[in-house]
Symmetry: C2
Subunit: 109 residues, 2 copies
């Protein structure tokens, strides 16, 4: 079930950092420039660029040069959807397995 | 929305590697020793130990010393549930925002 997937690798890795999840929270309220993202994050502009680059590689963020600044916005919701589907499929399989084990224990003499 | 969460950091990081997702797939079919996990994975026993350690830190896998071997099984489904909830909440917010933008564009003169 999707064990080999460069998309999942990139998405889960991008989501594994609190600063990057914070950037997604911020962009959920609307687009922002790199400097606007750097402001409240406590990161340098270079730090923000690195994190935005990782989110962009995963397709979670898109950026566009507008005049002298780079504007960032949320990318495709599909990327997040695929990661959600992987988790949901495994959670169901996981709970199903535990349920079957529970019934086996109940039936045991 | 959960931007600062060491649990989410550890879970998403653990899921970001195809070998580790493969270990979860395998343990979904039942418990296995470290050697049994190493066999089909193409990893050394030390490589498997490292990956299992990362999954264990995230709570996705539990291990127990049984005689001379270490047995591995799936951990709590709650850990996976929390990561799934984070993704689902963001996916909904994300799609809602795109819907509102779509309606705005449709209404624009």
């Amino acid at each position: 079930m999707g064990a080999l997937s460069p998309t999942l690798d990139a998405t889960f890795f991008a989501l594994s950092d609190p600063k990057r999840r914070g950037i997604l929270d911020r962009l959920g309220r609307g687009p922002a420039t790199l400097s606007e993202l750097a402001g409240p994050s406590g990161l340098t502009l270079n730090g923000i660029k690195k994190h935005v680059g990782i989110l962009e590689l995963a397709g979670l963020v898109e950026t566009e040069k507008v005049g002298r600044v780079r504007e960032c916005r949320l990318g495709s919701a599909t990327t997040l959807g695929e990661a959600g589907e992987w988790i949901e499929a495994h959670r169901r399989a996981w709970e199903g397995r535990l349920d079957r084990f529970g019934r086996f224990v109940e039936r045991a003499p």
